[in-house]
Symmetry: C2
Subunit: 356 residues, 2 copies
Amino acid sequence: MSIKKEITIYDLAKELNYSPSTISRALNDHKSISKKTVQRIKNAAEEMGYRPNTLAAGLRNNKSKTIGISISRINRPFMSSLISGIEEAARNAGYNVIISQSDDKYKNELSNTKALYDSRISGLIVSLSMETSDYKHFNQFIDQGIPVVFVDRVPASLNSYKVVIDNYSAGYSATKHLIEQGCKRIAHFAGAQHRNVYEERKKGYVDALKEHGLPVEKELIKYFKTLSFEEGRKTTAKLMALPNPPDGIFSANDTAAVSAIIYAKSMGIKVPEDLAIIGFNDDPISSIVDPALSTVSHPAAKMGEISAKRILEHSRANYDKTISEVTILNTELIIRDSSNRAKALLKSKKSRQPKT
Amino acid sequence: MSIKKEITIYDLAKELNYSPSTISRALNDHKSISKKTVQRIKNAAEEMGYRPNTLAAGLRNNKSKTIGISISRINRPFMSSLISGIEEAARNAGYNVIISQSDDKYKNELSNTKALYDSRISGLIVSLSMETSDYKHFNQFIDQGIPVVFVDRVPASLNSYKVVIDNYSAGYSATKHLIEQGCKRIAHFAGAQHRNVYEERKKGYVDALKEHGLPVEKELIKYFKTLSFEEGRKTTAKLMALPNPPDGIFSANDTAAVSAIIYAKSMGIKVPEDLAIIGFNDDPISSIVDPALSTVSHPAAKMGEISAKRILEHSRANYDKTISEVTILNTELIIRDSSNRAKALLKSKKSRQPKT
DNA sequence: ATAGCTAACGAAATCGTTTTCGTAAACATA
DNA sequence: TATGTTTACGAAAACGATTTCGTTAGCTAT
């Protein structure tokens, strides 16, 4: 009802007989103000209910305490966890987080980053859209000394902060695991190869086959557009209709892997006995599908947290240029039933025993 | 590298021999500037690469073109879809979205809304934390004429914008569906009863039982703290160990419902024949679990979109007070295998036929 | 012709902080 | 004593857009 007047540093200045400059400095812990004065001022600020006007500060500094995010879509498990991690770290440091979705379109990523730039963000965290192959739109940030952190889907060339997992090793381990389960013909559901994550996962797959003396067959490597459920279903159908179908699948994501499990079950193909399957991401669906999907877990929230911290550090240190620094996080191979042939064998023996 | 000077309305004014006032008005389509001039100015602005400084405008207006969100956690299917819808609508209107997570703690919701208030948001979209029972922290917004939209989890009392689904009817329909499937003893996984959504779902359940001549038994209504997987598992175990166990479950969310399915399967209890189960939300896991979970679908993204639009309208209309306006969206009952006894019966007959 | 009106624009204050130069006092040094 | 050096603070100009009052010119009605 009654519109309360917001109190400003001028009000504090008048009240305490200091100049606004001193108030400002005291509130920001500037060293040239004595500890005593700082305390006095902070106490008064607290008492009088002073609240900093971030817009004014932002205008003056040409920078707002805000971290911008550009991602494909929020409503995917990996992305929402990533954001969750970013938000938590940012808020603890008094930063806001503003998000924008590209929907995997280059055009949207372009306009979103422009809008974020106009919002005078302190830093940008990006997971590239599927379509992006030109990175000029990030130069405006880098040129201005605004840190850009690429996370997960990163550009190969650009010098900047990067937070990633070791996709190559993860792909290698996942494939090796299938080989150890006795698979001889392992198919791969590959994502768009210009995105580092999918390219590297595939490389890991290829090298694992080679190093274990298995042939790399083109007909077993399927390139997906979106790694969607529907795409996975169709691809699995094609693969299993081959004269010599695969006995294992390493999918670059869980959605497609789950669709393969479900398709296989519907066709009476036994998972993992006839077809061992492993996915990537450890989405919630992977532990719900039956048999539960083996997968590679991705520390999404942690990646978000680290990305945010890179920006906070950069801002604190007041670097004038973006520094090139790559952080590589560990993944974890999670073995569930969809690839665990030993366990499946044991179970089928047990279930046959009562009959004998 | 070269720090380009941002051009301002002053630069435009100098270039075109107008005053900054005119430039500002022209860019905002103020009526007192002639169409010709507006065009000239807009063209020049485009050409010279002018970009509005939202911070300066925000400072002057004491309001930034930003929508604040306060929710429990981002990384849940419903919430991420909600945000996705908000973000899309907001961005189309040139608004930014800043999010904050309460983690279902009242304390966090309090400090987050304070921070959002300090950010001079144009409007706030809230889905209440589980703990919240005091709504004073929203008064600062309402008193200032800043619109507050409550979505999904809304307060019963406060006069404000609300965007909800008809939880009562949904709960009633879900329960009625189980009754129609022949269930006689239907259990309910209920959420915290001070949150409208859970209270209303339960009411729908109770009334459906009553109106169909079934007794409402206290031992079959289980109150959950978080409706988590683990909680669901334990609760299902207890229920099924009763001397007279239930033959149906209506769960207030999918997570708990899925845990019930998985527990039942592990115990050899047939779903839906021995135990028909229906959930709420239509999370991705519900169509992946086997048998697939019947559930109530929640138009999450749409709710986000509408919430955002309420704020945009309010801002455009320049209302000085928050208006009380409730939007109720339709839900959809999605029948899958976990409650479809007719289909299950048919299947079991078919699978027996070959033998005869 | 004069008052009254409208259309189209301008001057300058304003929003609340920050920061660049200062200055003044107190103290140390040669 | 004269000269630096800190320490602790202040004046005032930014930051860029908006908006409250204007003003001026041209038109209409009487």
